[in-house]
Assembly symmetry: C2
């Protein structure tokens, strides 16, 4: 190695200087993310084409990198920070959360073992207990942090499999003459449940979708009937996934009745409240988690509606033994003198390495406080109800689902003529495309009983009443007027 | 909601002020992480006990939070940034990488779909192509970024299962009269392979560990014999996992010979070069990936030895169709007008949500440049060889494995008397404990053919020759002298 080549990292003074610039950039960005179009306007391939095909041979200045970041990367960003972001579930990387991520990145602690950073393990225990208490869940739930709800639910079903299928860890599922197994969820459960069932080797057909009632909630009677039918066919119920806050409509499955069925059938009950679980932090919404105390596992995502930068999924389990049995495996090179006396995060999941994710959630919970969180969640739900009231009052629109939280499902249906479902889909798809092309708002859609539906999801800390009002103005302006026959492109 | 309660996020001016403070903290930290004991000295439960049992009811100042961070959290950190960190695989969250994480956290972009941030998808394609070229892998490999190598290898084996087991996605593994399947790896493969095989439902017994040669490399002849034996018993070979840079000794499996076996047996070949793959960026080390161009999938972790903050695992696949077939699943609420014409990251894995991880890797590759990376990796390997030369020259020590990269496996074996293996284990465990209690260095151990071995892994950007010299001084000082009979506690 020649002496004139740098041997180490960016020096600390340069880090300070560039760090200030990055903080300045972020602060200016946070002043008004609304200056950008919310949904990126780049064309497919445009970002890729603007960048060199190969890495540079020699190092470049951070100046040049930051310039390209602004020039090439930022235009290709869809701004989840934008107050007009109403698509999917709106999220917030709040100030204290971002500061937590900065410190976590700098510490670069990897928490696979207690000794590789005791604070990673123990702060995770602390914040998971805080969050559990805030939501009113009992201490029988132990918590562990994963990256996404997909991974949390995957672990839930892997633990359920471990608990239900004798010898599965050693012998697996194939070639053993085992019966067929079934997992149940409503037709409105999240696609991550499908993926998890496929991945753990049960097969997609093993997931039985239970019909929902008129308000998109799983029918517990239909669940019971499906299990009975399956049992008659020799199929063993392995788990039921109930959802509190489904993706399309945020409907709430009847967890108590489902828990009764699970208790009777000795099936693992996993509750996916990735989005809506945090609503239970507000006393008047505590009831949405009724029955969840009887679940075997629960997932709630602070990176969704709890102002925590992506990613951080909180997984709670009352049968941590099954999770540990499913995954614990200590090769010699990871054995420590503490093994057996402390918690090692690697024992509770498929991922060996663990980021220090608890730090950002700890900062968020402390900075906003329980009352600050309640006020903000309550305001988001007020804004959604307000928007719903405008939809309800307008004869050219209809609402297609209740609004239990902060998401409104609606569509245009201009008065003055009859519409076929096909026509309404074209009309509302056009409306959605025009709204999203405005750059001021970004909404997404779903289908409910075959009907194409727009979703307005309030969830970003920057979203105020004026933004929701503006969204309604844009919706009104972009929809065909009453009595219209014209189909916009 | 009362009017006197805050409704939004930390305001941008406050963010700027606190951001500067955090950057100052990090810059001071980066000046000398060596001022802290490398392995945390807190006792189990100490961090937890220093924090309140419940979240605060009212929000707190960021001042108070930062104070507790310094007072409670930092003492519980094991400093992966410390130049004396020689345990496991030493890593670096470099300056440009940390700045990338700051911007990524602030943008809070979630890249599940192309449209939810085109830059997340396309910059990932760009940097994955850059890294692939740097390592000399052909363009037939497509890349996708996951969090950890555990998850990368899980996806490799899930894709292998998809390719090998007819109908597995729909029908799963149980109750179908399928044959038994087998996955093969060496006895030195990483524990994540065990976990993946368990998770996808094959069962731990389906993983057959192939014996290694005297230099800890999988024996291709033993692999061929094991497959033949299994076939005679009706067991179908599903995949082989070869390792370039095993965890214990960084040995390199004979990938070419293994690829021959896989081709003959039509088994998926996955190569785990999570740690050592990046060595191929140096032309003289290109050969360590010989044969990897014939693999079906490869994992290399920039968060290990490529200066990228944890987490970022690069997964390459030549049969992306199998991966997509295994995981692609588009519910209505995630359907977009671009579906089918662009790449949506959610189609290539179990995780729906994706962080903007590519940004930090892009900044690292540009800031250091290919030649800067080569120089740094080369220097780490020089330092390891230097340490190995001291071990080799000292009659009271012995080296227990070759040093192909930047890890040295050694132990004390003081001259002047005979030792049993039990005595040597006690002696070297004592040596390791004293070294790690010094606060100046942190080493880990493994076992090789029943022998307790210390590992010194060079990999942090701050580690210079003087730190490796100091480590050797401490090793010498902490070991019993030649001729000694005394067993230190």
């Amino acid at each position: 190695m020649s002496d004139d080549k740098p041997k180490g990292d960016m020096d600390p003074e340069a880090f300070r200087r560039e760090g200030y610039r990055v903080v300045d950039w972020i602060a200016r960005y946070f002043e008004d993310p609304g200056r950008y179009p919310v949904m990126s306007r780049v064309k497919p391939g445009e970002v890729r084409a603007a960048l060199p095909a190969s890495a540079p041979e020699s190092g470049e200045s951070f100046d040049a990198i930051l310039e390209d970041f602004e020039r090439v990367i930022v235009p290709g960003i869809t701004h989840w920070n934008h107050p007009g972001f109403f698509a999917y579930f709106a999220i917030t990387g709040s100030g204290p959360g971002v500061l937590g991520e900065m410190l976590s990145a700098a510490l670069n602690a990897q928490g696979m073992l207690w000794r590789t950073s005791p604070s990673v393990t123990e702060l995770e225990e602390v914040v998971m207990a805080w969050l559990r208490q805030l939501m009113g869940l009992p201490a029988s739930f132990q918590g562990v942090i994963y990256d996404t709800a997909s991974v949390s639910s995957l672990h839930a079903l892997a633990a359920a499999r471990q608990a239900a299928v004798p010898g599965v860890r050693a012998e697996g599922l194939a070639g053993r003459g085992l019966p067929r197994y079934r997992v149940y969820c409503s037709e409105h459960a999240h696609s991550s449940i499908d993926k998890a069932v496929i991945l753990i080797g049960l097969g997609h057909d093993a997931l039985r979708k239970i019909p929902a009632d008129a308000e998109f909630r799983m029918r517990a009677d239909a669940l019971q009937a499906a299990i009975a039918e399956d049992r008659r066919a020799g199929i063993v119920p392995l788990a039921v996934v109930a959802t509190v806050g489904t993706t399309s409509t945020t409907s709430v499955d009847p967890v108590e009745a489902i828990a009764d069925v699970c208790a009777r059938e000795r099936a693992w009950l996993h509750v996916d409240c990735a989005y809506a679980g945090v609503a239970a932090i507000i006393p008047e919404y505590r009831h949405v988690l009724r029955g969840v105390d009887r679940a075997d596992s629960v997932v709630v995502n602070p990176h969704k509606w709890l102002f925590t930068p992506f990613d951080l999924s909180a997984f709670y389990c009352r049968r941590m033994d099954a999770l540990v049995e499913a995954f614990s495996l200590t090769p010699e090179y990871l054995r420590t003198s503490e093994t057996g006396t402390v918690r090692n995060l690697m024992d509770t999941g498929v991922q060996l390495g663990r980021r220090f994710r608890a730090l950002k959630l700890w900062m968020v919970l402390r900075y906003f406080g329980a009352d600050g969180i309640r006020a903000r969640l309550g305001e988001h739900m007020r804004l959604a109800r307000l928007f719903a009231s405008w939809v309800d009052a307008d004869p050219d629109f209809e609402r297609l689902a209740p609004v239990p939280f902060s998401v409104v499902c609606f569509r245009a249906r201009p008065g003055g003529r009859q519409w076929s479902e096909n026509e309404l889909e074209r009309l509302n798809q056009g409306l959605l495309d025009r709204l999203n092309a405005s750059g001021e708002v970004f909404l997404s859609h779903t289908k409910l009983d075959g009907r194409f539906v727009l979703r307005l999801a309030v969830g970003n800390l920057r979203t105020e009443e004026r933004h929701v009002r503006r969204a309604w103005e844009l919706v009104k302006r972009s929809a065909p007027p009453s009595g219209s026959d014209a189909f916009p492109r």
